[in-house]
Assembly symmetry: D3
Homo-oligomer: 132 residues x 6
Amino acid sequence: MYTVRVRDHFMIAHSFRGDVFGPAQKLHGATYVVDVEFRSPELDADGIVVDIGLATETVHKILGELNYRNLDDEASLKGRNTTTEVLARTIFDRLAAAIGRGDLGRSAKAIESLRVTLNESHVASASYEGRV
Amino acid sequence: MYTVRVRDHFMIAHSFRGDVFGPAQKLHGATYVVDVEFRSPELDADGIVVDIGLATETVHKILGELNYRNLDDEASLKGRNTTTEVLARTIFDRLAAAIGRGDLGRSAKAIESLRVTLNESHVASASYEGRV
Amino acid sequence: MYTVRVRDHFMIAHSFRGDVFGPAQKLHGATYVVDVEFRSPELDADGIVVDIGLATETVHKILGELNYRNLDDEASLKGRNTTTEVLARTIFDRLAAAIGRGDLGRSAKAIESLRVTLNESHVASASYEGRV
Amino acid sequence: MYTVRVRDHFMIAHSFRGDVFGPAQKLHGATYVVDVEFRSPELDADGIVVDIGLATETVHKILGELNYRNLDDEASLKGRNTTTEVLARTIFDRLAAAIGRGDLGRSAKAIESLRVTLNESHVASASYEGRV
Amino acid sequence: MYTVRVRDHFMIAHSFRGDVFGPAQKLHGATYVVDVEFRSPELDADGIVVDIGLATETVHKILGELNYRNLDDEASLKGRNTTTEVLARTIFDRLAAAIGRGDLGRSAKAIESLRVTLNESHVASASYEGRV
Amino acid sequence: MYTVRVRDHFMIAHSFRGDVFGPAQKLHGATYVVDVEFRSPELDADGIVVDIGLATETVHKILGELNYRNLDDEASLKGRNTTTEVLARTIFDRLAAAIGRGDLGRSAKAIESLRVTLNESHVASASYEGRV
């Protein structure tokens, strides 16, 4: 299995509902350094998993829809805690949809699965991985 | 599959038995920077894999049982080489037991597997992963 | 010159005033991974620059006064843009005051200067350094 | 499952054929920081996955066959784009052959799979993993 | 003293002349992960050392003049070994000129010095720092 | 000012004397990931601060005198706490002596100062810097 990984980041404000979150129930924020892994069992004729230029642009555009926002005000995330886990899944779903639409080009058709990791500090991260 | 990762460290002395270890047969030591990954197919109602506060505390307590020790003198590790691989498994087993006892709370019940990685330098690490 | 460095982090929401900030004028947030460097020309009789336990606790307490907050609502920061540079200086000033009060103990008396670095992502940071 | 990881690097020149590569069609180069993961379900009697000394030497020797070269001139890579993905696979194949020849010693016999990751910058990497 | 740091990278081919370089006398290449530090004793009215958007763009443009090239063919570098040290100085000089031309805007006028670091692997880097 | 940095590591056991060290008074150990910075105002005719091959070898040899040891038994360190600060100074002194003896070759004659940093974990380090 081949994997290609690209890194980018976004910076948001949010708050959580639920006693388990303690002081994180207050409005605070985070930088998420995001690693997206694209997995494919075969390479295309050019010798790549995916056009890394298109992959980088698409990831940047998807993160741009969240960047510099207060996630408590985002209609698309209403009624949910925007935990690192939930955001990893949100980005996974949007990226899977982009691949489905053909945004990542011809070579992306062989992509079998994705893993999206959000590093929230030097000591914690969360990921979601699944088939596309 | 969702993954949450937390990082901590511990510092120990030890020595190895066996020609394969060369100069590491002498008493020396290591800092292990430890990454623990908790994996679950679903999130709980709060949108998390595990209460990260409880997870961090539990990992810290388990590492604290080894921290600032000479592992050659530890009764629980007697008769074994405390290689990075063996220590990764030891911490995995203790953490799996803690989850079994309910130390990580309600949300931890859905945890299917753990991966414990010990980074021993900028160029080497070892992991153990398995179901819990 | 000797330097001791410790690392910790905090997570906040804020917004900036001024066209130069572009989309960062909206409420957003950041994780700051903080490196504090303590510098001294001599070691004490124990062979240290500072009691690293006290240093770690004091840094953690100072970051705790900002952690999980919306900095736009913090009285002590009112009327200023809480840029990474300004926050580095704020933490420097609070830490210098703590050293002045003796919070870092006996060995900290020889500390000549501090450097406080806030890493806001994998591609950007800001620091303030000065004498204490 | 146990994993042992070792890190090394190599530095090469190359160029790519195909419009998808844009400016990388020109002769340029890269540093690849390489992580090799050795995976085994069991430890040997010494408590290890592999003799880390032999593993490090073997990886270094295999990377040495590519280090300080212009890959466009390498007979063994002729007719292929030496993308990060292709190089990850090339190193995987050479390492699998070395294990087959017994270069990694007795303990390496239990190794089930390898993962070879080439980090080409702070924002991109590619891997190949498979059974041996 | 305040410092702002931004990170970017470029990928080149080159070769060295001189016995001291051993196998690096052959055509090979490198990824350089570049950290540029901007230093100023005071912040401007917005609370910044430099418009980080302009700084990032300018650094990217300067690295773009070297990216995806064979430096042995670059007229501006003819007759010199393009060691990591020499490249750090080259980028420093080009960035100092850009600041002189006003490319980094109003706030950059207070910048006293720069440090340019080129990380060529996980184990080596070179820097040039000086006044502007 | 030019700087060249190389990285290596060593692994030791030791214990400390003094209440300030708390549990670190017991025999324990550490991995030190060591960064050595060589600083020079000018480059030599080859365009380098120092022969990086010789620098790497010399650092490796000096760390090798400490590697895989119990520092409590080392005659050259007797009667002192081998804190991270003290070890940074010890390595600095040995490296300065090596430069004085000419071990780093011709180009090293222009080296004005060194900085030796010992990273003992992901959250702590100590350095010593001075003229040679």
